[in-house]
């Protein structure tokens, strides 16, 4: 576990910053939920919008105003925030080591490359899980402090789905990062790619394109409103993300085993 804990400690400061920002934001959102409970203004505004926009605005029929508000702000928001954090973590795994030449130090120790990559992936998944769980705890605490009753279990699964999406995007980023030795360039490329996929998915949903037509895009397999409504993960979509993540990780292990570290 030496490699895992060494990298976990290296990411600790970043995790604290992300935790602080996310928890403060979550508590702010939770404290605003009470006003949504007492107002139907948003639902009136959203009734004429297409379902994808209704989901964004939190006005989908079948959801309580609070659930609609929470899934719109937290579910959809975290579906972008967590993948952004995943991109940074994935780029830190190998590319940053190569960029600052510490890969020379690391890879001339008797470390197994497969183990190293799996540990780095594990740190990414763990950091994302800590952030996700903290957001859920802050959300529940914030809502309870505001005396608002929501679908707490549904919110958990909604955030779990966002975590799974982030792990998938992180795994894809980790795979791609093995061909990029410049950390700064890699981060920009990963964020641009993730942002583009998010916008494409949003645009295709608003345009009413079927799920099959959007199947190439990991964001397709996240539906915060549906998950809150059902109160559990959509297992089929979760399985697709898990398989994509596993496949990316397997390909990354193969590629890293062959990667040459230039000075």
């Amino acid at each position: 576990m030496t490699l895992f804990w060494q990298h976990f400690r290296a990411q600790r400061n970043g995790l604290f910053i992300w935790l602080a920002a996310s928890v403060v934001t979550t508590i702010s959102v939770a404290s605003a939920a009470r006003s949504m409970e007492q107002s139907d203004l948003m639902s009136k505004l959203g009734q004429a919008a297409p379902p994808a926009l209704q989901a964004l605005m939190g006005t989908l029929p079948g959801l309580s105003p609070v659930d609609g508000f929470i899934q719109a702000k937290m579910g959809t928001g975290m579906a972008l925030i967590l993948p952004v954090y995943a991109c940074l973590l994935a780029m830190s795994a190998i590319t940053r080591e190569v960029d600052r030449s510490t890969a020379d130090f690391l890879l001339t120790l008797p470390v197994d490359r497969t183990r190293l990559l799996l540990d780095r992936w594990g740190v990414m998944a763990a950091n994302l899980a800590i952030l996700t769980l903290s957001v859920w705890v802050a959300l529940v605490a914030g809502l309870k402090a505001s005396q608002v009753i929501g679908s707490f279990g549904g919110y958990f699964w909604m955030l779990a789905q966002d975590w799974l999406l982030a792990v998938t995007i992180g795994s894809l980023t980790l795979l791609v990062s093995l061909w990029i030795d410049d950390y700064s360039l890699g981060v920009k490329a990963a964020l641009a790619g993730t942002g583009t996929l998010y916008v494409i998915d949003l645009g295709m949903r608003v345009a009413g394109i079927s799920k099959w037509g959007r199947s190439f895009n990991p964001f397709t397999y996240v539906d915060a409103a549906r998950t809150v409504m059902d109160g559990h993960l959509p297992w089929g979509d979760a399985a697709v993300l898990a398989v994509a993540s596993g496949l990316s990780l397997w390909l990354a292990v193969q590629a890293f085993g062959r990667k040459q570290i230039y000075s």
């Binding site: 030496t2 490699l3 060494q6 290296a10 600052r100 030449s101 510490t102 890969a103 020379d104 130090f105 890879l107 001339t108 120790l109 008797p110 470390v111 197994d112 062959r258 040459q260 570290i261 230039y262 000075s263």
Partner: protein, 296 residues
């Protein structure tokens, strides 16, 4: 068993540069100097041996282990000092050391403590606050702390002050005295001359010679000083003479090649005095490079 044995080992980059068909055997317990200017392929060869780069042809064994298939195992017995300290600069020297020893599974820290004291290493400060020389000392400590069988040192004393360079040279001698093998790349020829039993010279990615330092100095280049009783011969026309300096009947030059033709050229001109001396390693090294660039 040789500590390092390379057979026709190549690593070629896409631009065609790199190292080509290197044959080399480093004996257990020797200090081997690996010489060449920047860009000759020294670091590429070391990175290939350590598994950072893959051989494009040939094979190699280090400590009896195949460099392509058993690289992780061979790295257990190797201490590597890169030319530029590449440690985690957000960690202290102690944290870098602890990490390296933990990965290597070394629990006994007594050797590391003794070395740190001897090298006067500041382990409490973060690496980013240290000078290059102090970072280099931490790197040396980490390379030696697990008591490796083979030390691979790439430009080991760059950044060290003269006192610390001497301390480092003492350390290398001691390691050799304990039966350890040292493979040292450098372009500081004086250092190699003092420490190495044998040297290998690499030029444009090819190993051009491997020989004992003393033998190389004796056979390759000579400093020649001569004085004639009457008119001196036209030495400029003699092949192998360079750096010719003339002063009346006296002449001084360096000579590369077989001495017989030189002595033949000098004979019959009334030699009053002749001195033939071994040059420093630097001159030997230069002779290989001038030969390669067509100046010899």
């Amino acid at each position: 068993m040789n500590a390092m044995e390379l057979k026709q080992l190549s690593h070629l980059y896409k631009n065609g540069r790199g190292v080509r068909e290197v044959d080399l055997a480093v004996e257990t317990g020797e200090v081997f100097g690996f010489l060449g200017p920047n860009g000759a392929g020294k670091t590429t060869l070391i990175r290939t041996v350590l598994g950072l780069l893959r051989p494009t042809a040939g094979e190699g064994r280090v400590l009896g282990l195949d460099i392509a298939r058993q690289n992780r195992e061979l790295r257990r017995g190797v201490g590597y000092l890169p030319s530029d300290p590449a440690l985690y600069d957000f960690l202290t020297g102690q944290q870098n050391l602890d990490f390296a020893l933990a990965v290597r599974g070394v629990r006994d820290r007594s050797r590391a403590r003794a070395l740190a004291e001897r090298l006067d290493v500041d382990l409490k400060r973060r690496l980013k606050t240290l000078s290059r020389g102090n970072k280099q000392k931490v790197s040396i400590l980490i390379a030696l702390a697990h008591d490796p069988e083979l030390l691979i040192l790439d430009e080991p004393t760059s950044g060290l002050d003269p006192l610390m360079q001497e301390a480092f040279q003492d350390l290398v001698r001691e390691e050799q005295g304990r039966g350890k093998t040292v493979f040292m790349s450098s372009h500081v020829l004086g250092e190699v001359e003092v420490l190495a039993d044998r040297v290998g010279i690499i030029r444009d990615g090819r190993m051009v010679t491997v020989d004992h330092v003393d033998h190389l100095k004796k056979t390759r280049v000579k400093y020649v000083s001569c004085e004639f009783k009457s008119d001196r011969p036209d030495l400029e026309k003699v092949a192998g003479i360079r750096n010719l300096s003339l002063d009346g009947r006296k002449a001084q030059f360096t000579f590369v090649g077989d001495l017989d033709p030189l002595l033949g050229a000098l004979a019959g001109h009334g030699l009053a005095d002749l001195t033939v001396a071994d040059p420093p390693l630097e001159e030997v090294f230069r002779s290989f490079y001038e030969e390669g660039s067509g100046q010899a």
